[in-house]
């Protein structure tokens, strides 16, 4: 049983290291698996290398000031003009997965000097960043273009095999 436990831990560690990788190389990984929020949708296999090309090596487009590249948004530059590389460039290390938890709300309320009080949570950050750009660039924008629904997701959206019986007209009120 302990062997299984250790294997599981090792697997988890390996997975964490895979996700931490971007901090270790300037170019970042070729692909990143975005799986920390997996629930209704399967993990996203993110082609990092391709997106680096799309933004012409300007990491700040997605990573703000954390990669050490010069920030272009003048609103950020007011403070982060000379900010160096951050310890972590992973989205989830700054963007909270539970932004509206009582603890997080309290944390924001207690931090009197905190400027970034309107920072989106992890899910919001992913979708706004990805989708915002996809809309501008004419890239795919449907949910399942990036991640397929899990079975739980299909049950949640009442789609696929959980879809309501067709042919039934919506009851009028």
């Amino acid at each position: 049983m302990s062997k299984k436990f250790i294997t599981a831990w090792l697997a988890l560690l390996a997975l964490m290291m895979l996700n931490v990788q971007p901090a270790q190389s300037m170019e970042g990984p070729d692909t990143a698996t975005l799986d920390s929020l997996t629930d209704l949708f399967a993990p996203v296999s993110f082609n990092h290398a391709m997106h680096v090309d799309v933004v012409a090596n300007d990491c700040a487009v997605c990573h703000h000031h954390t990669t050490g590249t010069k920030v272009t948004d003048e609103r950020c530059a007011r403070c982060h003009k000379n900010s160096g590389e951050a310890n972590s460039v992973a989205c989830r290390d700054c963007h909270n997965a539970n932004p509206f938890s009582a603890e997080n709300l309290q944390k924001i309320a207690d931090a009197e000097l905190l400027f970034h009080t309107d920072k989106p949570g992890l899910k919001g950050a992913y979708h706004r960043k990805c989708l915002g750009c996809h809309q501008e660039m004419g890239a795919p924008t449907a949910c399942e273009n990036c991640h397929t629904k899990t079975e739980k997701g299909e049950a949640f959206y009442r789609s696929g095999k959980f879809a309501p019986t067709p042919g039934k007209e919506p009851a009028s009120e």
């Binding site: 309320a109 009442r158 309501p164 009851a171």
Partner: protein
């Protein structure tokens, strides 16, 4: 409303004499000065319409959380945006507590989506219209409804300025009002955000203390010049609501009623309703008194007539 005002004037006229008028005057003033204005630490939600992509995930989350009946179409079916019933876009019903609608705003790039549900007013019209007190505004900010005491009069449906409460017409045995309760039982009272807020992929909705959200909303408007209409819908409307909205297109273009005014709905009837008990208790006594006085004079005259008939001839 005009009728009520006229009636009020009439009633005031009727009570204009002496002591009664002064009693009514002070009573009225006390009510006008006292405004509830909402619980100080109540929670709220700021909905940023400019971020909504119309994915309907909030509708699905609500359906699951509140154990609502199965929808007519899957929640990833976008054809619902074209549905028009009785000349209206989709609205809240016994089958759904929240609805996302699509609006094509001329001059705006792409469609605009608007989520709506109960706005959880600081001073709810539904609550003040209910004569069995089926509604409660909780300190956390939710307006909840107790179906056990509801008599099914549906006055709340008429009192609501946003047409939110729906009626379970499908149930002949236990028809009740259905509306969004801000996930009070399952989430809000434990300090967790409503299910729709948590499910939204775009984080269209920000959950927090209402007073913080107002600050945050104004900051967002200020920090993004030209992006938003300089107004938070719900900050002041009908006395303030727990759910508030930011939009990059005029609110009237996406189905908001911009003519509701800042007065809580109850204010339109407060003065009138204060007079009702007074009328019911004082008027009968007062007019019985008048009646008896008048009768007494008449009686006296008649008895005088009867006793001294010679006086008249003299």
């Amino acid at each position: 409303m005009k009728n009520l005002l006229d009636r009020r004037k009439f009633l005031k006229g009727g009570l204009a004499s002496g002591v009664l008028a002064s009693v009514l005057g002070t009573g009225k003033k006390a009510f006008a000065e006292h405004s509830f204005g909402g619980y100080p630490n109540s929670m709220g939600v700021l909905v940023d319409l400019s971020k909504c992509i119309g994915c309907r995930t909030c509708e699905a989350a609500c359906n699951k959380e509140q154990e609502m009946p199965a929808p007519d179409k899957p929640f990833d079916d976008m054809s619902v945006f074209d549905e028009i019933r009785h000349g209206q876009k989709r609205r809240t019903s016994e089958k759904t507590h929240t609805v996302v609608n699509r609006y094509d705003v001329p001059g705006h790039d792409g469609p605009v989506f608007r989520k709506f549900q109960c706005n959880h007013c600081n001073e709810p019209g539904c609550l003040s219209s209910c004569f069995v007190n089926a509604y409660t505004k909780t300190p956390e900010g939710a307006v909840v409804y107790n179906e056990k005491v509801c008599v099914g009069c549906r006055t709340c449906m008429i009192a609501c300025p946003f047409y939110v409460p729906a009626y379970k017409y499908s149930s002949p045995i236990n028809p009740v009002i259905t509306k969004c309760k801000m996930c009070y039982d399952t989430r809000l009272k434990n300090g967790r955000p409503p299910a729709c807020v948590e499910a939204c992929p775009q984080e269209v909705m920000t959950f927090g203390k209402r007073r913080d959200l107002i600050k945050l909303g104004h900051e967002r408007i200020q920090k993004n010049p030209g992006k938003y209409i300089d107004h938070i819908y719900g900050e002041k409307e009908v006395g303030g609501t727990a759910w508030m909205y930011l939009s990059s297109v005029p609110f009237a273009e996406v189905g908001f009623n911009t003519e509701l005014g800042d007065q809580p709905i109850v204010n339109y009837v407060k003065e009138f309703l204060t007079v009702v008990p007074m009328v019911l208790t004082i008027w009968p006594a007062l007019f019985t008194g008048f009646h008896l006085l008048a009768k007494r004079k008449e009686n006296q005259k008649e008895s005088q007539k009867a006793t001294t008939p010679s006086d008249r001839n003299a």
